[in-house]
């Protein structure tokens, strides 16, 4: 290859920079990091509104449905699949058990690179205690 001595190292450097996001975590040992959301320890708060498998996948849709139900329809009660009736409220229902968003919500959200705008307006219970 003409000018091979310059091209091949340059190409390797370029590919290395291009694939940096892929190999960086492996090299720096961060792939072993697993998000650890802290669950509420209080025995009375053992059951979430919906089962874990459902909530993990669908909590975004659930919260959006709740937002629509309360703000636009004025309906503030939700009947869960376990037949219990809950009040629809981010603060009074969800955050009642998961009091600190930084220890629970953010653990997975930060890891996954998920940003949500809920907290631009809504205030979680522990927030004021910190500020």
């Amino acid at each position: 290859m003409y000018d091979g001595k310059k091209i091949i190292p340059g190409l390797i450097l370029f590919l290395g920079l291009l694939t940096y996001p892929i190999w960086h975590n492996t090299v720096s040992g961060k792939t072993s990091y697993v998000p650890k959301p802290e669950l509420p320890t209080d025995k009375a708060k053992k059951e979430c509104v919906e089962p874990k498998t459902f909530i993990r996948v669908n909590h975004k849709t659930l919260l959006e449905d709740w937002k629509f139900s309360v703000v636009r329809n004025g309906i503030r009660t939700y009947q869960a699949s376990n037949k219990k009736v809950y009040t629809i409220s981010l603060n009074r229902t969800c955050m009642n058990c998961h009091t600190d968003k930084t220890k629970f919500c953010d653990q997975c959200h930060t890891y996954m690179g998920v940003t949500n705008k809920c907290w631009d307006c809504h205030i979680y219970p522990k927030q004021m205690a910190k500020e």
Partner: protein, 257 residues
């Protein structure tokens, strides 16, 4: 099965059937009868209105109890400038609110007294017509609602409101809130806000904060459809004023002198 077009279609059909079988079963198996939820009382049964007895309001000069209560529980920021101020309820001189009452030869007594004004929750609200995303709408119980999640901040509702009841968040309001009320969210910058007749309190059976805070009981709130309600009783046999009734907005805040 021959590996030609027909064979391929047969295999494709069976594969599709196989893929659909489990999800289809799941969908149909979810149909189970559950106990019906207790239906919330339909909004249309009530029609909220407010009456303001001006003579009682004027008993204490410089009183700001209603304003403080409202702005406190709703996390209304104090931005300090005329340019950016946000207010859900505030006071303005009588002669500015009711310019049609200004007569050359009338007495001057109450022309400069301060009158509390807020969103009138009109029956035919112009602001609701102009919103391009329906972030503001009129609920069946008469409250003109605001959905801060949907507002795009175009300020057309502000242009449409003849009373100037709406405020806009020109910047992030959080640093300017004196003491945050955890029970109510704040707003972000870029959305319009206004009085909501304390609909979150009404839902819990409480009266609006301003009505509760008024020491002179000058603000009276209630169901206009109920002839026995306090607000209806106050409006009986009195001369009632509204702000600019000739515009046809049918405001639900009445001023009683």
């Amino acid at each position: 099965m021959q590996f030609d077009r027909r064979g391929f279609l047969k295999i494709a059909g069976l594969t599709a059937l196989g893929l659909v079988a489990k999800p289809g079963w799941d969908v149909f198996s979810k149909i189970e009868s559950s106990e019906p939820l207790p239906t919330p009382e339909p909004f249309a049964k009530k029609k909220w209105g407010m009456a303001i007895e001006l003579k009682k309001c004027w008993l204490e000069e410089g009183c700001k109890d209603c304003i403080d209560a409202c702005h406190r529980i709703h996390n209304v920021p104090d931005l300090g400038t005329l340019k950016e101020e946000i207010k859900w309820i505030w006071t303005s001189p009588y002669d500015k609110i009711f310019p049609e009452h200004e007569f050359e030869y009338a007495g001057e007594e109450h022309q400069h007294k301060l009158v509390p004004i807020l969103c009138n929750h009109c029956d035919d609200p112009p602001c609701v017509r102009y919103c391009p995303t329906r972030a503001t709408w009129k609920r069946e119980d008469g409250i003109v609602m605001m959905d801060f999640h949907r507002c795009i901040g175009c300020r057309y509702c502000m242009a449409g409101c003849p009373y100037g009841s709406r405020s806009f968040n020109w910047r992030d309001p959080r640093p300017f809130i004196k003491k945050v009320n955890l029970e109510f969210p704040t707003r972000t910058r870029g959305v319009v806000e206004k009085c909501n007749f304390c609909e979150e309190r009404l839902n819990r059976g409480l009266i609006p904060a301003c009505v509760e805070a008024c020491k002179e009981k000058a603000l009276i709130f209630g169901d206009l459809k109920d002839p026995e309600s306090k607000v209806r009783k106050v409006l009986q046999n009195r001369i009632i004023y509204q702000r600019q009734p000739e515009l046809g907005t049918k405001p639900k805040v009445f001023y009683v002198l």
